[in-house]
Symmetry: D2
Subunit: 216 residues, 4 copies
């Protein structure tokens, strides 16, 4: 079965505005495609995402369920984010707020959250600083939701201290370290996704939960 | 082959002072033992760890190489930390500073860092607040060093806002959520450690590195 | 001249839904009023705030300029936030994204950013963990935008590890530490706001900027 | 009375090793001196600082009390830090751990912590990323301990993504943004230190504490 990678680009810019983060995402996409993975890039800014803490439709305008369905169908989830004030974009935070309620949709048979058996990574671009902050928070959240985090599953580009040009104008596409980590990100998430297809997380979570309750 | 778990307890207290973090670590240890894993708890405060950014001996008093050897022999690394001012203890940060130089010890045949094929998790206790901060930073660092981060591989206990009793005095041992996540942490890190024994990370990193260099 | 305090409540809930963060904000408001300060509580969720990185109107629906005007008129800015996944709400992040462009509106005579001479603090509520993370990031951003941060200008309530009741249901209103820090927050921000009314930040920033350019 | 500035350089390198952070600190020192401030640069790595959470001597070798005395005598505290793994150095964390106990030394007459009436700032250098993280955590801690945080009281230099040269070799001394923020840091902390000499924090904290206790 083909591995499906979903890029959740949390740029603040709607299509067709140029997104620096998407320029780096496309590098990763090409490598995924060369490995035989199916890919889709989705910009959250193109959808109306209502404020809320559950993945289900919260009001009439809300389009988050469309995004959530794509998330559930993917094997690899790559969260893309620009950096603002050293932090991830408000859309990354909104993504996590909406996914928070996915905990309650745990599989009845084995207690696993809906994002178990998925692999997560992150791609970040910013003018100058904040990539570690954004990556650590974002991968931690995805891990909490059930994803597996392979080694070196972050890829980022940042320039020097202070305001400056962004990834595209600064020629980030030729940045050796960023390109190297882009390869690591893709190959590592791809390998773990294949591994989990063959060896899915075992069915022992629910039992554990009961065990913990008895013990307390 | 038996799975070896090493708990790196970064409490500021030397043995035999009572460590709250160790009390929770021991809960996890018992579960690991019940699964057949070999375990060792090590307190960094019991060693003289010199300031530095390489794992090798940096001066005459330095005992970090002893710790580094144990790290390299383990399959599962669980970093234990108390919370001070919302952050991980200075010993966790020192551990990361010393492991920073391990990047340069990448396997010559496949380019992988020494901590590839190891699985990481974290156990945290604090009076009141900071567990997400400590866990996200610590797991992110371990992932960067080469470890795999399974889903739900953090376990923590914190009390209410403000100064208060710690894990042991507050009766944290009966805390349902902490106990549940302790089970998740152990079972999930154990399952991934077994999986990686059978299916180690493939030998394609060095090649990728060269590919990235050519492309740039 | 009366001191004006603006509470920017970044709860995800629209009026009239019950906001736990607002319950704690109202405690602070009562103390501010007892000191003679004028107060206003504003929920960002009640406005349509378009994605963007400037405070000016970015599209037809955008109501952020109304909020920005209130921010410019206030002496004290208290950012209120719930905690989701250990982080501040997406609306706090959006507030910062929109204020980012305020840097370019520096006073032509003295080079100061629009938020100079204002005092900032923060009020946070969450089920269990993340207050230090939210407070440190938020106060740091406000400081960068030009605000002064008095000692002990954060006030928060969090419960024990794991899902649980929120501030109101858990009886947070009687929490000694939270109440003490609420007093500190109000008295300290109020005293600094008065001090800055009498002794505003001096007019030497622009000069310094030129000096730095020459030196470089 | 002359303003005293104490630079707490938390580099991992002992004197006389070259510290990049100290190179930037010296830029700030020269500006402080030009304003008439008295300055001292202290490297924590030159002292034996025992593990602990109180400022008092914790064992025979412990030299932290010497540092604590200098801290209490200073008007301005500038914490200098390199960045390792996106975080502040272990010595910054150790500084905070030792200062944690200063809360209990609150002034009996007015309840204020020992660091009230002091002004704090931070100077950071790193190869590539993490300045916002280090600055936000460090200034937040100092604010909690009693310090006032002026606007724009952080100054940092970081290079591009990935390993690279440090501040000195990369020619950071000519970096416009870093130089500009160095001026802001010095002038702003200096102005607030003078202001607090003339208008010290009022004596109403202890009273507030009692008020909070009654109300609860």
């Amino acid at each position: 079965m083909r591995i499906k990678t979903l890029f959740l680009n949390c740029t603040l810019k709607k299509t067709p505005e140029t997104s620096n983060t998407e320029a780096l995402i496309k590098k990763a996409e090409a490598i995924f495609n060369s490995l035989g993975a199916q890919t889709e890039i989705l910009r959250l800014a193109d959808y109306h995402i209502s404020l809320g803490i559950v993945p289900e439709k919260v009001d009439e305008k809300d389009e988050f369920p469309l995004i959530y369905n794509k998330i559930k169908e993917a094997d690899i989830l790559i969260v893309g984010s620009p950096i603002w004030f050293g932090n991830r974009s408000s859309l990354v935070q909104q993504l996590m707020e909406r996914l928070d309620g996915s905990y309650t949709q745990a599989n009845k048979d084995n207690g696993q959250y809906p994002l178990y058996n998925k692999v997560a990574g992150t791609i970040i671009t910013g003018n100058e600083d904040g990539a570690h902050m954004v990556a650590s928070q974002t991968l931690f959240n995805m891990m909490h939701l059930g994803c597996t985090i392979p080694p070196n599953s972050d890829c980022y580009w940042v320039g020097e201290a202070g305001p400056g040009e962004s990834y595209i104008k600064e020629g980030g596409a030729k940045h050796l370290y960023t390109n190297k980590t882009c390869h690591f990100l893709v190959h590592n998430t791809f390998w773990y996704a294949q591994l989990l297809k063959q060896h899915p997380n075992p069915n022992n979570l629910n039992t554990l939960y009961e065990a913990a309750q008895k013990e307390s």
